[in-house]
């Protein structure tokens, strides 16, 4: 396959060095003072002298490094999930939350918080929250998918309406749970829903990275079919695209990625909507460039936002879900205005 770059703008591969710089910046900045020189020193010591136990190394290696890597992976996963949804619904305003993924996860998380005292052995386990959120998100999405499945075909407009209905239903059920919650549980649920990268450790980061390889590779392989799908389902079918299989792949792969991120980090919205948009404006609409550019832009965006969340009110933290919305919108508007004036 030839790679062809949009002639007006630099290729997406320029994002790779930008990502490396962002990661290094994120490692060097935080509430705990760790200047770039110290960061380099810790890495050098680990490379040559094995594991270190001083506090600088602990902060860098077991707190900041997993968090930054997790943020990059989460950003990439959310952005790619957004690309899949926008292709599936053939609408640049589609978002992974449309299929009920986020609200299903939030409902499951709220239920676990509320009922953890009722079944302590099962529900008080630290894995119970992310696992339930993941299962909850997938369950709601599967329901939406199944109900829109008629005579062997999935009707995308029906799926959109079902997603809206499910979001409303989950919201109502969450409201019901909130009414029954006591103060502590209420705050827990609220904080979970704001999203935080602080729960990342090396194990969960490695898990996310490992599992995400499959959807990323899968989506890269079907990028041509995704391009063709954008022209219309009937046209795509006449060009040899197996449309139903493709739709199923898009739903499954994006839900896997986004579901995992939401389960581990809470609700971090807006990334799946804004990043692909920005990627399209900068690097073109074809999935040939959209897929890698969205992945890289997402991986750059989230750690940058997280730097702000970690440092603005240090030693406390701002919830990243709120910040993605607050920061993403004006930047997107700025980019849109700039492109319009250039064109």
């Amino acid at each position: 396959m030839r790679l062809h770059f949009v002639s007006k703008y630099p290729g997406w591969w320029l994002l790779i060095p930008l990502l490396i710089c962002t990661l290094f910046l994120a490692l060097s900045v935080g509430a705990y003072p760790l200047h770039p020189a110290k960061v380099a020193d810790v890495f050098r010591r680990v490379l040559f002298q094995g594991s270190q136990t001083d506090i600088d190394a602990v902060v860098l290696l077991s707190i900041r490094l997993p968090r930054v890597l997790f943020g990059a992976l989460a950003g990439a996963g959310l952005a790619l999930g957004g690309v899949c949804m926008q292709t599936l619904f053939r609408n640049p305003l589609a978002d992974p939350g449309l299929m009920g993924l986020s609200s299903g996860a939030a409902l499951a998380a709220a239920a676990v918080t509320l009922f953890s005292s009722a079944a302590p052995t099962l529900l008080a386990h630290p894995l119970s929250m992310p696992l339930s959120a993941f299962i909850g998100g997938l369950a709601i999405t599967s329901l939406v998918y199944r109900i829109s499945h008629q005579s062997g075909k999935v009707r995308v407009d029906a799926m959109l309406l079902m997603g809206i209905a499910m979001n409303a239903l989950c919201g109502a059920l969450i409201g019901l749970l909130l009414v029954m919650a006591d103060d502590a549980q209420l705050r827990n649920i609220t904080f979970w829903s704001f999203g935080s990268l602080g729960r990342a450790d090396l194990k969960s980061t490695a898990l996310l990275g490992g599992i995400m390889l499959l959807p990323v590779w899968g989506i890269w392989r079907i990028r041509d079919a995704m391009n063709v799908l954008l022209i219309g389902e009937a046209d795509a079918a006449s060009m040899g695209v197996q449309v139903e299989k493709l739709k199923f792949c898009l739903v499954t792969l994006s839900c896997l990625m986004v579901g995992l991120v939401v389960a581990m980090a809470g609700l971090i919205g807006f990334v799946g909507l804004v990043i692909p948009h920005i990627a399209r404006i900068l690097f073109g609409v074809s999935h040939q460039s959209l897929v890698p550019s969205s992945v890289l832009l997402g991986a750059i965006f989230l750690p940058l936002v997280d730097i702000f969340c970690r440092t603005a009110v240090a030693p406390s933290e701002l919830p990243i879900g709120m910040m993605t919305a607050l920061l993403g919108t004006p930047f997107f508007i700025f980019l849109l205005l700039r492109t319009r004036s250039v064109a």
Partner: protein
Amino acid sequence: MMVLQNIQVSRSKRCILSAINLKLTPGEVTIVIGVNGAGKSSLVRLLSGEWQPDAGNISWQGTPLSSAPPLDMARSRAVVNQQADLRFDFTVREVVEMGRFPLRQTSPAQLELSIDTALEEVDLLRHAHKKCTRLSGGEQKRMLLARAMVQLTEARTAGEGVLILDEPTAHLDLRHQELLLQSMRNRAAEGLAVFAVLHDLNHAARVADQLVIVHHGCILKSGTVDDVMDPELLSGIYGIPLERVDTPGHCPNWISPAPQKKSSIPNPNLQNNHEKHLLIPTP
């Protein structure tokens, strides 16, 4: 060769097509005419594989259509629909290039050539870098035709394939209508079977090797242009009086006599009691 045998299609308990028997011969242009709602577009959907017949069978080169793998069929058959649903800002060239999706044996150089030739044939080469959403309806139509031509690159080399077009001349200006009709003839000359639904009787008469009239879901008549185009038959179908006018050195014209209206203001458009019409010289 695509063969339809005893096709019956019903939707929502309504019979849309019945007793359809049709052969699409390689190298021939088959044109379907008929009034609105006769079932012409349904026939297109059937041939494109979007609809399955309730009775009868469709076969391509002897294999039933339903058992042919989608990618193989896409290499041999391309469809140009009435309308494009374009929501993303692909460039014209990117859309036309999507036609390469089913191709397997085409080298990048051959592909580039095919794209360039297709764009030139539909007169869009100078618009190749324009965003497809900024095109007019007619330009989008031409772009879809170019894409279909790229999709059939390997079929054209092998000399066997089907090109299906649904009202391809709609929204096109005169010049581009001519280009399109010429393009259809070119594809037939390459060995493809071309199938198109047309509304303009004159276009149909000029370009068809096999002409089919669809009326109320059935094939009323099919054959050569001279066999099928009978003034009485056509007037009966369309519900307006039609005449054929032959002018030496020009293609035959189907025209309708002017309506008799009592008016004190003479109508400058009337000429010999018929509406003015443009004559097209024989190619």
